[in-house]
Amino acid sequence: MKLVIINYGSGNLHSVNKAFEVVNNNLENPYEIIVTNTPSEILNADKLVLPGVGAFQDCKNAIHKIDGLFDSLEQVVIGEKKAFMGICVGMQLLAEKSLEFGECEGFGWIPGEVIKIEAPADYKIPHMGWNEVTFRNHELLNNISQNTDFYFVHSYYFRTQKNDNCIATTKYPNPITAAVLKENIFGTQFHPEKSHNNGKQIIANFLEWEPS
């Protein structure tokens, strides 16, 4: 079984890769982890991870700059329904569009848009640090207690069109989407790779997940 971590030059690629390696090594049947941007390897993936930090548009441009990358991703995730996990901007990219630095189209895999966090003046932006997450029960959140802290760093968030697609939220002080889910597509706004043991648990859950 192959787990592909998409390499398009994202700043958190190394951290994501390390965290997945450590969790994967504890599995009975570990995946072969491949860090790549080559379409032929992406087409052979059983599971995929898309990291991402920085500006929405920069990430999107970086992906589209690599020949065949997006098309191969779309074929495996939308066409073949392989399990997919986006992290931070890698999750925001799933939206139809983002309003960061003007309007920019996303993948459009989950209905909704990425908008600026609206918070009272005494709330610092970016929303940076550990914040509590509440969620709907799902196997991707197995062995996590309600109100567990995860590490966030972002100024924009994914407002999903359908409540169904938002499976976890945090508060700052208004509700902010913390995780999205649609069929085989999962995404977290927080950084599991930086959220210590609970983050590793999310990664373990994703590695065990078999979307129906």
Binding site: K124, P126, V153, Y172, H196
Partner: protein
């Protein structure tokens, strides 16, 4: 609720942890990777390395330390000291740093802040500011590890770098650093109330009450300390337990 972050800082010279009193009289306090692992398991919210190695020849040692730490600690790691170019930032991130802190180079070349924030995202770029009281005229910043004075006003500078895309400010009081008499809460609150991005308090913490004051009086989003943790006076857990008792939200 968003938690106030407790960040142990390790000053690293040629791969070893040191901590100075007022930036001199360095005392060896151990292996950075081992220290980082302890802090990670004790519940530190982030880790910070400040490389004070003078010679650039010894830079590779730091990369090794960053790499090993990132392989063992799954919490955010900020690395600063000697960061001068986009390439320096890129190499640190590549070795496993999550954020990079820039001090002197940002003062000498303010364009670097915007460039770095655009390339790696604001959340990756921490601007470190060493500030010293300038009579009753506010605070001026110092560069080169606190050795070189400037006539730049600390508040104006912080506002400028925030506008250019810095993700947070690591604000060290030169007057308080190593004194253990508490953070400079006037400096902290002056800066914190003037900018939208988070401010990390640094310099002067000596007891548990000082951490509380940094939040309540200084308005800090995060609290950084070095020697108080290294020499075992207080553990991360002691600090968090005390803050929680004072109704300050922390991650326990």
């Amino acid at each position: 609720m968003l938690k106030k972050r407790i960040i142990p800082c390790l000053d690293v010279d040629r791969g070893r942890v040191v901590k100075g009193v007022n930036f001199v009289d360095l005392i060896d306090a151990g292996d950075p990777v081992e220290q980082a692992k302890i802090y990670n398991s004790e519940g530190a919210d982030e880790l910070c390395f400040l490389d004070i190695t003078a010679s650039s020849d010894d830079r590779e040692t730091l990369f090794e330390v960053v790499k090993k730490t990132a392989e063992n600690c799954f919490i955010p790691l900020t690395v600063g000291g000697g960061v001068r170019t986009i390439d320096d930032i890129s190499r640190l991130l590549h070795h496993g740093a999550d954020k990079v802190s820039i001090n002197t180079a940002a003062v000498e070349n303010i364009d670097l802040v915007a460039k770095a924030a655009k390339k790696y995202g604001s959340s990756t770029i921490v601007i470190a500011v060493d500030a010293k009281k300038n009579g009753d005229k506010g605070w001026n910043i110092f560069t080169h590890g606190g050795r070189k004075p400037t006539d730049i006003d600390a508040l104006e500078y912080c506002i400028e770098v925030a506008n250019l895309g810095a993700g947070e400010i690591l604000l060290t009081s030169m007057d308080r650093d190593g004194t253990k008499i508490g953070f400079d809460n006037d400096l902290l609150s002056t800066v914190s109330s003037s900018i939208d991005i988070p401010v990390i308090a640094s310099g002067g913490v000596g007891n548990l009450e000082h951490f509380v004051e940094g939040v309540l009086k200084g308005g800090a989003s995060a609290l950084l300390a070095a020697s108080i943790f290294h020499f075992g006076e207080y553990s991360i857990k002691d600090v968090k337990t005390y803050l929680a008792e004072q109704n300050i939200a922390v991650r326990i």
